[in-house]
Chain length 791, copies 2
Amino acid sequence: MKPEHLPTFTVEPWVVREPRLDLDAMGQTESVFALSNGHIGLRGNLDEGEPHVLPGTYLNSFYEVRPLPYAEGGYGFPESGQSIINVTNGKLIRLLVDDEPFDLRYGTLGRHERVLDMRSGTLQRDVEWESPAGRAVKVRSTRMVSLTQRAIAAICYEVEVVHAGDDDNGDGALLVLQSELVANEQLPGRNPDDPRLETALDNVLEPEQSRAGDSGATLVHRTRQSGLRCAAAMEHEVFGPDGFEVSTDANEDLARTTIIARVKPGETLKVIKYLAYGWSSRRSLPAVYDQVRAAIAAARYTGWDGLVAQQQEYLDDFWATADVEIDGDAELQQAVRLATFHVLQAGARAERRCIPAKGLTADGYDGHTFWDTETFCLQVLSFLAPDAAADALAWRKSILPNAFARAETLGLKGAAFPWRTIRGDECSGYWPAGTAAFHINADIADAVKRHVAATGDTDFELEVGLELLVATARLWRSLGNHDSAGNFRIDGVTGPDEYSAIADNNVYTNLMAQQNLRYAAEVAAKHPRAAGRLGVDSEEVASWRDAATAMLIPYDERLRVHPQSEGFTDHQRWDFEHTPAENYPLLLNYPYFELYRTQVVKQADLVLAMQIRPDAFTDDQMRRNFAYYEGITVRDSSLSACTQSVMAARTGHLDLAYQYLAEAALVDMHDLAGNTDHGMHIASMAGTWAAVTLGFGGMRCELDGLSFAPGLPSSLSRIAFGLKWQGRRIRVSITPDEVEYQLLDGAPMRFRHHGEPIALDDEQPVTVAIPPQEWVEPVEQPYGRAPRSRG
Amino acid sequence: MKPEHLPTFTVEPWVVREPRLDLDAMGQTESVFALSNGHIGLRGNLDEGEPHVLPGTYLNSFYEVRPLPYAEGGYGFPESGQSIINVTNGKLIRLLVDDEPFDLRYGTLGRHERVLDMRSGTLQRDVEWESPAGRAVKVRSTRMVSLTQRAIAAICYEVEVVHAGDDDNGDGALLVLQSELVANEQLPGRNPDDPRLETALDNVLEPEQSRAGDSGATLVHRTRQSGLRCAAAMEHEVFGPDGFEVSTDANEDLARTTIIARVKPGETLKVIKYLAYGWSSRRSLPAVYDQVRAAIAAARYTGWDGLVAQQQEYLDDFWATADVEIDGDAELQQAVRLATFHVLQAGARAERRCIPAKGLTADGYDGHTFWDTETFCLQVLSFLAPDAAADALAWRKSILPNAFARAETLGLKGAAFPWRTIRGDECSGYWPAGTAAFHINADIADAVKRHVAATGDTDFELEVGLELLVATARLWRSLGNHDSAGNFRIDGVTGPDEYSAIADNNVYTNLMAQQNLRYAAEVAAKHPRAAGRLGVDSEEVASWRDAATAMLIPYDERLRVHPQSEGFTDHQRWDFEHTPAENYPLLLNYPYFELYRTQVVKQADLVLAMQIRPDAFTDDQMRRNFAYYEGITVRDSSLSACTQSVMAARTGHLDLAYQYLAEAALVDMHDLAGNTDHGMHIASMAGTWAAVTLGFGGMRCELDGLSFAPGLPSSLSRIAFGLKWQGRRIRVSITPDEVEYQLLDGAPMRFRHHGEPIALDDEQPVTVAIPPQEWVEPVEQPYGRAPRSRG
């Protein structure tokens, strides 16, 4: 773990407040304060643009291609990658006070407070500033990316003159606001040595059209290589003392609305800036242009207050189900809400586009989408925003042609989904941790199964699920083979743990493939005509079932644990005792070959298999496996703590589960990975919710029903969470000795509590006791890698 | 195998003759006709420079650096590579006949013959050409790279006027010869998709000095990045009809001596061109300049005839030992001599520089040196040119600082020699088949052991061997580990077969490491003071012996064969039956992941282990293993056929051994790999000699003595070969039923013949019978991959 920054935020239940400007943490706050609706993402940059760490305005799936170079190439290595790009920046509002630019690095900064309000979905900033020449102003800006009007962002920018200078003759100060659209912003250089970072692409937008009106403008650009067209439009409403002037000019890469007003002390100049974004790979310039003009007209029609009200309503509805309450740890309470909020922001309006690993909060990982979407985000969204989850899987279906082509290139059948991508093509430049990570295909199938279980949506199962399941089952059938003893083997693949690679019979992969094959067989049998149209016949379904039944799951009889992959437990244990703290993450300080051949786990792999496939393990195996892998897992990936939390809770280590929950939830607020400036860890945010529900809630959502097995760590007095389940809304409130289950709305239901059947027939809560915990032997983490103790 | 080109060469015992110009095979002939002494390499380009496939003039270890790019980098990935470069071309002699350039693409070509004479070490070219305007000339050029004067090459260029044109008024034709030094020649573009090829580097030489004299000139250049300085000088002697004029001019990248003569029909203009090359990374410009001027002065002093005589004498001495006689296959006879000749050329005067995989015949593999040197070339040179072998190992010792640094980067002790390099730094850009191929370190130790056994050179053992052995033993000790059962494991490495990678307990690697550790312990014990200076104590030596004794050698009890690596025999067999011929080599048509996880072998791996470590296998295991691996080995590497030949012979498959010998020997004359234009396959050339001596000769040279177990394939009536052994010269002549052993010179000796002790007390040949061959069950190769049947 990197030494954490001093906390920048105050602890409050529903807001994240930065009480004073912290320039050293600016990269982090730009990410934490990023606003997004899954379509548009605005980093939390200052209105005036500078100082900044990374200016960022993103549109989901708007990317440029770049060549992927290799010192030594190989067959099937992807030749070009896709990188999300910083599009036209519409956040910019520069202010001049009597010809002095409002810049926090000059003059005297009084108050500087920023507040992200998770209930209103706005970022508010309050500044008191005195210019070098002694003019004092208060600036308040409120920014939103609309969750209800997908193409729209808006800013309310207010400047009050407090003191117009000692030489003020009563006229007040002359304020000049320059509200801009800026394309091809220069981006700061990046560290080329860290493989986790993104590639800088400069000047990628080719200007196509710029038009200025009186109080707004539109810029249209096109990417040079990928040929995508993007339009950005702005319009302004100005409220201020009489006599202000508004004018707009635009050239290729810059549009600027200038508002000039003389403002006396006590008076306020207020500007509402509406922003609209749109892009298309196919539509004509006039069509894209008109699209953003229409969006901005609708936004103006709704008005600022209307947009604010819609946002509040949307979020009220969301939180009514989604809110997780944590009693006994106020900081964690805040962090869990922030986590949930960012998962919503990443997925809410992605609408058949991808959900990137960093959401739209920065360009880390080049803006790519990985298995994070299905395995982490969708386990939240299927229960809190099922439409968004269905859309994400529909996106997967939409890239099936790319996945079919990739499989063909690789000599395989079915679909080979890309390890990392924006629009469907494999963008991984290191195949042992890219192409070889075939588990992503089973992760997608698992997300389909989970989504069907959570929603009961049989239309989705047929229309989206079936083809994904068939395509992935075919992949597994061709990727694996029956050996002479009849076992079905999957050799030479990489599981979730990226500190091992290209191993035989990775237990996670094989169990997930087994589930994939079985579920595909089941769904194909349920929809024989639709399956038939995909060329599925009963022989093929039988071969899936055979493979699933014969799936080889290695087991180490000597140690009585499951090896992560065949032979894994024969390897030497990493020398944790002689690994200094500053050498983590190990991948930046040790070669892959050393990591691969040693027992050291970057992130939950076998432990994740136990989370998703508990049916494949006995309770004793789960306890022994958890203890074994706990001793060699270093959590160099932010995808790990949440899973370790779930399995710690399920194996009776509730206090440890609490530490891991806190680590997952606080990864960005405490910048635990040291790279929050490159974007929010959306999967860890999502894993926070999983840790609460699947871990402390002991929730399992299978096709045959829902079950809970709650337990509470000793430091917390209550955890409550809610979810949607098959058209219902349910709330679960866990206290040390008992649990209250409540059906908030929807039809009567049955579920299991610690194995016992429970019925919720109406909205009357049902309270049941939690059985006493058995004592379990404590587990140990590698030297120096225990989660930070809490409480 | 690529479809072979039509044979371009006539079959003759001691020369390789191209009877007429074959433009389609020009890339191949440029390589086959390349002349080198291990320091200078001149491709067999035409004197006049064009047409060409690849112009090439190389100096051993004269390289430029280039960045190694990665789509996704990783810790320890080399950041820059070294690429051999085409230096100043001094081969160029352009001819104008009455203002018409002598260019084979114009006018009328009569005779065009090129002859590489392996006894004289010269390339002679005879041309009869009539210009478009009807002037007829005969051109004879004879080119040599001196084996005795290391810095020198020379050309004798003669033009006879046959017919001076119908308009000749008796004055004859005006001949203009332009003899040049050209730096920064433009090189043809290359196919960027084939990872086996080199990188084009253009315009890399920065001019430092150019000076012209009357009949010669000198150019000094320096590489831009690597900062190496190279000087090239030429001088001319002209013999011709009275009145010729000689002048020279030089600018930065070009020096030109112009010789003008009026030559009547029947008269000849003859020019001797002396070329000298030198380079240094440290010496000053004047020093390097003077060095080549001194060399050229010495060459002129020796004179053309003197150089020719020295060359002949050198080669007479060489062939007296080295000649391999093959009775019954004239083409193979020729090919074996060419192979031996090219191995000599690659290593003769390398003198503490590397011996690249392609020698100095082209820039394939960027001019890099691999394990080919120790495992293939030195098994010839230690017996035929022991000083060259000692120098090559002294070069390895000289790059120990780089290997120590690399080991440290990798977190290992001792030395990690580069998988591919020119001057010692790792230049491999794909670590699974680079860094992970640690076996190169044991291959170096094996070459030390073999060299000591072959020469009895205990000074070498102490001065060069000891430090190499200690450094490599330390590597193995830190790379492997004792597991809980006490076995010493070496996990996650890549053996010789590059169609598998990053596997545990590769048998080849473990056996070679075992030998490395044991031999290091033995030599350290023998030289305790010198070892002590290297920090070796008895505890460390004991730890090497322990590791060697406990070395894990996996064995598949079910199949009763050794798996190439642990788990290998559990993998699916490659689907050879459905692999079309045009999909070989597989690495160009299938992804690594598919190759790695399947039973398909690019090149001898376990089979090579049996060649080098026969003591580790029973005869029955060798037969069974050979048959098993024969069935899955596709020979997509030219390093394979020779080893398969050796082990086929040793397991009783003498006729199969003969097919493989022919494939190894003919790889370049028949362009079997389709890439001879990128350079000669020096390791396969060297393997040819190994196939003869280790295979048909059944030779084993151990520290405790020499032994033979000869056998002859049915198609051949006799194979004879010679070698140097501990200061003696020996000749072995094998006929179907008996063998004649003769001590050509040196002290009396003992050795074993098929296990029986034999004494050679004087130069009197001793003839002994060959025991009858047992019948062995035939073996099969993968579908379509049998060697071409011969005879």
